[in-house]
């Protein structure tokens, strides 16, 4: 277990973390502002991945595929918001959970009808293929490095928007007191649509970046969604800052756990036992982390309402 290996896995953890952050930021914003539990957030991720792969196949241009799929996902998100989700804002969480669950079933099946159930092949775009040399003897896939950079850039962008712009002020105000923002005469409907659209775009971005790394198949959204829930619960629902901290934490713990738990365990228990226990424990590590955080802080690490 060399230092280089640890560093490489650490970078993988960071890469997974930023993808989780992109998803978590959108979801937590939507919950914080609109008090909407949206299980179909994962579907937007899935749509982003499928559209990116398809557009790339049609146009051959990675940049074009990125732009088109982002736009298309944004449009899908806004259409869903205007039609199905508007009615849910006034409903209780149970209704929202069930209705968005219905949307998940619909989208998963729609994708299966259009693209089939088998995983879709998405290659790394040629411009980002290959490796970069971060340190002597540490080569890291260019694509993954790009994902990390994009993710961090978006995090910075979000910080600037939320902390320094009027829109961001409305978002922060809305997160801590929704009714007041409405009472101040702000066009709530428009704010909601903008926020939801932003969340959809973020999910679409995560999805389109996910293609070359993770399996693109129906149901992929829910797989990551549960992990996004863990991120948000740990970070504090409604807090973007919390989402970032939670995402990096979860990304690191999960990746490093899967890579190193078995070898670490086999130093203390027999290798065969470690072979059995290692993967099992690694797969539940982030949930144990969530339970531990909740035990001490049931509201998460950075709850926005304090």
């Amino acid at each position: 277990m060399s230092v280089l290996l640890v560093l490489e896995q650490g970078l993988n953890g960071l890469q997974f973390g930023v993808m989780l952050f992109l998803m978590a930021a959108g979801l937590t914003l939507v919950f914080g502002i609109m008090n909407l539990v949206n299980l179909a957030h994962g579907s937007l991720y899935m749509i982003g991945a499928y559209l990116a792969a398809t557009f790339f196949g049609w146009t051959g241009s990675f940049l074009l595929a990125v732009a088109l799929s982002l736009l298309a996902t944004l449009v899908v998100g806004i259409v869903v918001e205007l039609t199905a989700l508007r009615t849910l804002y006034e409903r209780d969480h149970l209704d929202q959970v069930l209705a968005t669950f219905g949307l998940i079933l619909f989208f998963n099946e729609l994708i299966a009808i259009l693209w089939g159930r088998a995983a879709l092949y998405t290659g790394v775009p040629p411009a980002l293929a290959g490796y970069i040399e971060l340190l002597p003897r540490l080569r890291y896939p260019t694509y993954r490095a790009a994902v990390i950079l994009v993710g961090l850039a978006v995090a910075l962008l979000l910080y600037v928007v939320v902390a320094r712009t009027r829109l961001g002020m409305l978002i922060r105000a809305g997160a801590s007191n929704r009714t007041m923002v409405g009472a101040l005469g702000v066009n709530i409907r428009l704010l909601y649509t903008v926020v939801f659209g932003a969340g959809a775009a973020l999910a679409g971005l995560a999805g389109l970046m996910a293609g070359p790394i993770y399996a693109v198949q129906p149901g992929m959204g829910e797989q990551i969604l549960i992990q996004v829930f863990v991120v948000i619960v740990i970070g504090g629902i409604g807090s973007i800052h919390g989402a970032l901290v939670g995402a990096i934490l979860v990304g690191m713990v999960d990746t490093l756990g899967r890579a190193f738990l078995r070898p670490v365990l086999s130093t203390v228990i027999t290798p065969t036992a470690a072979d059995a226990a290692g993967p099992a424990l690694a797969s539940i590590l982030i949930y144990v982390l969530m339970a531990a955080v909740l035990f001490f802080r049931p509201q998460g690490l950075f709850p926005p309402r304090g």
């Binding site: 539990v37 669950f101 219905g102 079933l105 619909f106 863990v230 629902i237 969530m290």
Partner: protein
């Protein structure tokens, strides 16, 4: 329908269920015994969820986890040669109840969205755990070598098994009805109705909610044991969160907070799935929007449409 229409519907429904085997035999369609038995097993699972969801207001989106634990208890014990139902089934209930205790102890300290997400996350954790159990089939699952042995009651006899499940369903309906109207149930319902008020008069809801959660978990665990026997195969998919969503859908469709509603919901939903899947492999594309419509426009559910004894609906 008289002064107690709901009671009439319940009795009629149970009688119809009791008549399925002889009717199926007369029509030479044994498939129906199988189908309705499956419906009743899910009815028990849905009923257990209604206790905490409909009466307690606890939106547990990970309830299928207990279905899986119960099934795996039977499967794992059977794998190691313990085939007696008298050991398997109590273990299934106990294992589920204990898991519910741990999950509930952490989750019930939260509420609202946190609770939903946390129960979902823990259930999915169990799903992943199930997948990682290579000895027991990993994500392919494993077959059940033989149905649980009960001495004189042979579960390989489809009719005996059917009536056993029906008897359990009736038992749980009775127990559930007593729970929700007893002092215990009233605390749960009060806490759901208005938690600050419940606290102001002196109730600390946590202990009661946790107890209800554990009871519901144990009940669903037994449903899991039954399901394993029914399908004679068990996979981690029993615990998948979409299964939790399905069970929740049964509760809503049938009538939340009514105990018998979930039974109706289970029957209707599984019938719907059966009919739709005959038309197209992509039946979920119809089911998804159907669910959305039910939630938006028919939240009281089917049984909720039947007026109850006071003439009140829903």
């Amino acid at each position: 329908m008289g002064r107690r229409p709901r009671a009439v519907v319940v009795v009629a429904g149970l009688l119809l269920l009791a008549l399925v085997p002889p009717v199926a035999a007369a029509l030479a369609q044994p498939f129906y015994v199988d189908l309705f038995r499956r419906m009743m097993i899910f009815a028990i699972a849905a009923l257990s969820l209604d206790l905490i969801l409909g009466y307690g207001g606890m939106v547990s989106f990970g309830h299928a986890a207990y279905l899986g634990i119960g099934a795996y208890a039977v499967g794992i014990l059977g794998f190691h040669g313990i085939e007696s139902g008298l050991i398997q089934w109590p273990v299934a209930i106990l294992a589920s109840a204990l898991t519910a205790l741990v999950i509930g102890a952490i989750s019930i300290r939260t509420s609202g969205v946190y609770f939903i997400m946390i129960t979902l996350a823990f259930a999915q954790m169990l799903y992943y755990l199930g997948i990682s159990l290579e000895t027991y089939g990993g994500d392919n699952g494993m077959p059940l070598r033989t149905r649980s042995q009960f001495g004189p009651i042979d579960l390989r006899n489809p009719y005996a098994f059917y009536y056993l499940v029906l008897a359990l369903l009736v038992l749980f309906l009775l127990l559930g009805a007593r729970f929700v109207n007893a002092r215990f149930g009233m605390v749960i319902r009060a806490a759901k109705s208005n938690e600050p008020r419940a606290r102001a008069i002196g109730f600390s809801p946590y202990g009661y909610r946790l107890t209800a959660f554990v009871i519901a978990g144990g009940m669903c665990g037994l449903a899991g044991a039954l399901l394993a026997n029914q399908t004679e195969y068990l996979t981690p998919d029993f615990m998948h969160w979409t299964r939790s969503g399905e069970i929740m859908f049964m509760v809503i469709l049938g009538g939340i907070g009514t105990l018998f509603g979930p039974v109706i919901g289970a029957v209707v939903l599984l019938l719907l799935e059966d009919v739709l899947s005959a038309f197209t492999a992509h039946w979920q594309i119809i089911l998804g929007p159907f669910l959305v419509l039910v939630v938006l426009f028919a939240k009281r559910g089917l049984f909720g449409l039947v007026p109850d004894a006071g003439g009140r609906r829903g």
